[in-house]
């Protein structure tokens, strides 16, 4: 019992240590350059949490399908469809911020359902299907509401979505619900079995098709949720064409990959993604404080991402070389001791 608590505490410290180290490094850099810290005011905290919730939800959405070997490139377009349709319906009905969030997530679920259904029926490669669905969803988003998308700025009742307490609550709900779904529910057990081997899971009686569609639906809900907070932050979400919506998928890969790695430290992927998102958003906030342009920020963030994936991919090799060097040092120390003993005799 005591050992379990100690193990849990150790894992928790390891997990929290990553964003903490990132914050410390950024704090030192920003303070030495500008004389101010990364987080100075409540506005900074609000900015951090607003970006955090969108990147957390989007990163969890990407990982839902990606963990089973399905790279869904249409998630950006699903986000647009969810927010533009759901947001406009909720605003027309005067449902306020919570209504916008719920209806957007419902439309996101429908988009995920449609994509998942087409996937299991046509069985074409997920990435290829993603390209086709992106074209279709972007076209639909562009066609409705006179190509205006959705504007949440200045709408009555929407200000709750910018409320820091609401955002923190939403973060907790997202992490708790996804944790339950992927770690504790029957869907989660089946999902992980499929993640291990689709063929074995199917032979064991798991309905891989239902689970796949459910994964697409969950991903759709999560990206739509992310989209609502992105829209609230920027005020409006204008529809795009030419597969530009994919940029959201790519830009949220870093928190997802970093989060997956942190998740291995605490055996909890969802909490890992949360910490990964906190870490990446702290870097972005720090770079903004340094006054760098968004392009320079992108260069720095993606270079860090590159360094991280180089390390993550080769950590086995690094550990092997470290162990070899330690063995060599041990052997030389042994030989030196032997020589010393011989000299003493």
């Amino acid at each position: 019992m005591k050992s379990n608590a100690k193990d849990f505490a150790l894992r928790l410290v390891k997990t929290v240590a990553v964003p903490l180290v990132i914050w410390l490094v950024m704090e030192i850099i920003v303070r030495s350059a500008t004389g101010m810290g990364v987080i100075n005011s409540t506005a900074d905290i609000r900015t951090l949490f607003r970006n955090l919730i969108s990147s957390l939800a989007f990163a969890l959405g990407i990982s839902t399908n990606l963990n089973c070997g399905r790279m869904d490139l249409s998630m950006g377009a699903q986000m647009y469809a969810g927010v533009i349709f759901g947001g406009n319906i909720a605003l027309t009905l005067g449902l306020g911020g919570v209504g916008v969030l719920i209806l957007s997530m419902a439309v996101g679920a429908l988009c995920g359902l449609l994509t998942g259904f087409i996937f299991i029926k046509l069985r074409i490669l997920p990435m290829v299907l993603g390209l086709g669905m992106t074209l279709v969803f972007e076209c639909i988003c562009f066609a409705i509401n006179k190509q205006q998308g959705v504007t949440l700025y200045g709408q009555p009742g929407v200000e709750i979505l910018s409320n820091i307490t609401f955002i923190i609550g939403a973060v907790v709900v997202i992490v708790a619900v996804t944790y339950y779904l992927f770690q504790l529910s029957r869907y989660g057990f089946r999902y992980r079995a499929i993640q291990g081997s689709q063929k074995l899971a199917s032979d064991a009686g798991i309905n891989i098709y239902t689970n796949c569609v459910a994964s697409y639906v969950i991903a759709g809900i999560l990206v739509a949720c992310a989209g609502v907070f992105i829209t609230v932050y920027s005020g409006t979400l204008a529809p795009v064409l030419g597969m530009s919506s994919n940029s959201y998928v790519f830009s949220n890969m870093f928190p997802m990959v970093l989060g997956a790695w942190i998740g291995t430290l605490c055996n909890n992927r969802e909490f890992g993604v949360l910490m990964g998102s906190v870490g990446v958003n702290l870097i972005i906030l720090g770079l903004s404080k340094l006054g760098t342009s968004s392009s320079v920020q992108n260069v720095i963030i993606y270079t860090l991402f590159l360094i991280f994936i180089v390390y993550n991919t080769n950590k086995g090799k690094i550990a092997y070389f470290r162990a070899r060097r330690a063995r060599a040092a041990e052997a030389s120390a042994y030989l030196a001791r032997k020589k010393q003993a011989a000299a003493a005799q």
């Binding site: 046509l122 490669l125 639909i140 190509q147 992108n298 991402f305 994936i309 991919t313 080769n314």
Partner: protein, 336 residues
Amino acid sequence: MSAASGMAIQKQSPKLTLADRIDIIKNKRFFPLAFPLAMLAVLVVLFAVLTGGQFLQGSVVKNIFNQSFIVGTMATAVAFIYSTGNIDFSVGNVMGLACVFGALAYEVTESMPVMIAVTLVGGIALMMCNCTLCIACHIKPAMVAIVAMSIYSALCTVLVGADPIRVDYQASKALEGGFRYGTFILYFLVCLILYHRTAIGRKLRFIGGNETCAVQTGINTTKAQIIAFVFAGVGVGLAGVYQTIRTTSVAQTVGSGMGMDVMLATVLGGMSIFGGTKSNVYAGLIGAITVTVLNTGLLMLGVSSTMIQGVRGVIFLLLVFLNSERQKTLPSRQQF
């Protein structure tokens, strides 16, 4: 007696269903080439009929060819990478940054040959950068592509700034004729021969089909991948040159989103983005022409550009479904 037993065997043999017959046709060797070509021909005939022959006018055909030129060149180039089972959708941004390098070199030297050389070398160098990350650092090419497209795109913005870099209009238009057609035909023929008539192409397809098996038969996958990226680099560099001389200026958004267009064209041309034995080098070009034919035809029929994208998506999914083999379980592949 023998005739009667023959009849009995014939009666006992299972009857082929329509799906079985379609599968047999799909597995024929000629199918990967014939199907996209047939679809292209059907589209051309359809639009020719619907537009009352206007679709076949010289200016329209020339415009279709010009529009599909850049994506077609890049799609031909990435066939080398795709056939090994790897995906690289950063080619659009690689081309963009190569264009920026070329345009900056032109700004300094005011020499078109220098611009062409720098764009070509830039394309090859950037693709080799991606290749090094894949081979030396063992990162999956799709992940490299995501990082590379973001970094290259940001670098384009930083290097170009708000105003596009201009290239001499007259000199560019002079190069649009013979130089462009000549270099493209030469590059395409070299790719065609290398890919379908030499050991290089066979090795690349073998790696895409079964990498473990390819390694066990003594194929050096690292060397093959380097060759694939070099040839892709040449093609991307050439596409960069064509882009610069077509627009006579290089803006900060040059090449963005083109990587996806290339992937779309490749798949539409009948090639699997996961490579293998059925890969071919001409799929990208056929796909690029098909996309342009579809866009131009629908525009001539009065369909709005927004709707064209949706129609393109539906037709794309339909063609891919018809051209691919339906798997018994769900298709998946760890790309990251």
